[in-house]
Homo-oligomer: 112 residues x 2
DNA sequence: TTACATACATAAAATAATTAGGTATGTAAT
DNA sequence: ATTACATACCTAATTATTTTATGTATGTAA
């Protein structure tokens, strides 16, 4: 359940940002982290998250390693070498976009 | 050609924001205004814009009036009464979302 | 008469999310 | 014991929205 249809297209970006800052994270951890950081405003659903992770892995941006912790399997994701290089420009572009979107949405109407 | 797939889901919001600030606008005008305000960072394609306008009209948020200007037809859109009421809460929600997204994307990684 | 801006529109294909399931383990409460 | 909830992964059908590629038509400047 995303709070807003605006979420579309942002899931990839969010994943890449978190994996730029953290050497490795697993899916469930990502959902919790996003909820925490955004005060519950952004909630990643599993149906959106896992396919996005698989796609990024298939494209060579992410790599995985599975570990058993407390009897449960965790699949850790981390940036590949190739991923690390491309992530920077992708995130720069995303930040520029979001900045302009915020700018647009918070513009005061000019009164003439 | 949108600059970024992040555009998904934002077209409606952008339209509603512009029509909250301007009593009426026509499609082509909206594309130009968005380009201008966002320094070319956000470009609405016609294939996304027109279906979105038609949908909002069909849902009763927008109403239209067509005028011939310089030999060309312009279709002006404006908020309906019902539209005007709902736009405020929709935009508040969108602004909250975008704020949290920006927050997330610009967070400095905590170093421990 | 060519090119480009203005101004509308649609339709097939692609993309990506929602919704709604499914499996399985650990832990705390009844 | 067993119910409930958190942890942890996953997929598939449907829905929503955009991209891409067109099409029509007029005004203006080269």
């Amino acid at each position: 359940m995303s709070v807003n249809p605006l979420l579309k297209g942002t899931v990839q970006t969010i994943i890449l940002k978190l994996l730029e800052d953290n050497t490795r994270m697993y899916g469930y951890e990502i959902t919790q982290k996003v909820k925490e950081i955004t005060a519950g405003e952004i909630v990643l659903t599993e149906g959106a998250l896992y396919p996005a992770l698989h796609k990024l892995e298939g494209e060579g941006f992410l790599q995985t390693s599975t570990e058993i912790v407390d009897g449960r399997a965790r699949k850790y994701y981390s940036l590949t070498e190739q991923g690390g290089e491309q992530v920077t420009s992708k995130l720069d572009e995303a930040r520029a976009f979001v900045e302009q979107l915020q700018n647009l949405l918070t513009l005061k109407p000019s009164m003439e």
